[in-house]
Symmetry: C2
Subunit: 133 residues, 2 copies
């Protein structure tokens, strides 16, 4: 054993989401946040323009989408390609890193979508037991 390792969660990684001050926690929130996850998911299929994204991500406002895209671009997960034509055209696409991240994210989303029946059942059981009191 060449490295000193005590427990799995006690890795000597420089970054640890469980620590309050770790920057990785902020990025995790950008990625998994309400609109971040859906935006990345939409871009997973390919590059999209601003309003195409808005339509894909059902329910997002211009403001939130704009804000979300900025955060993801700043974190290096999304690339913004602006063409100064008239009318202007701006395409958003995943960076290689963004694609890797989104792969993992989609695995999570698809699992969840596939097991929603079990989740719904669990909710009914929970409500029947708790709500009755």
């Amino acid at each position: 054993m060449t490295t000193t390792q005590s427990a799995p969660e006690d890795r000597d990684l420089p970054f640890n989401v469980f620590a309050k001050s770790c920057p990785s926690r902020v990025t995790l929130e950008h990625v998994t946040g309400r609109w971040g996850a859906l935006t990345l998911g939409a871009l997973y299929e390919g590059s999209l323009r601003f309003n195409e994204l808005r339509r894909r991500v059902d329910g997002v406002s211009e403001k939130m989408l704009s804000q979300t895209l900025h955060a993801l671009e700043r974190d290096g997960l999304v690339h913004r390609e602006a063409q100064l034509t008239n009318p202007p055209r701006v395409d958003y696409e995943l960076t290689p890193l963004g694609h890797e991240v989104t792969e993992r994210l989609m695995a999570l989303i698809h699992l969840l979508e596939g097991r929603m029946d079990a989740v719904l059942e669990a909710r009914e059981r929970y409500d029947a037991a708790r709500g009755a009191r």
Copy 2:
């Protein structure tokens, strides 16, 4: 080809997070939400008691942890085991479904932690270009 399939995102799955009204979006938010993700992550190593959980998930308040655990329990991802001793002892652990979900979640978290250096670099580049103006 035996199934009718038009596009990957156009699957005829009953649940689709991209749709505003889909219940899967709510569950996704429980799982990936600020405290949900960290709580599941903490429980991935094994069952924990309430205050152990509080210490692991750095920065969470009692209220938020309690609320988070209720949501995850209701969705069938976390199991609550209470012993009516004195002092009371309550253990939380992942259900099999919760474990599956958390596996995917941890894959995402670990990827992110491992690439934070790239994220931080991207941020500096972004700020240098944008913040300068």
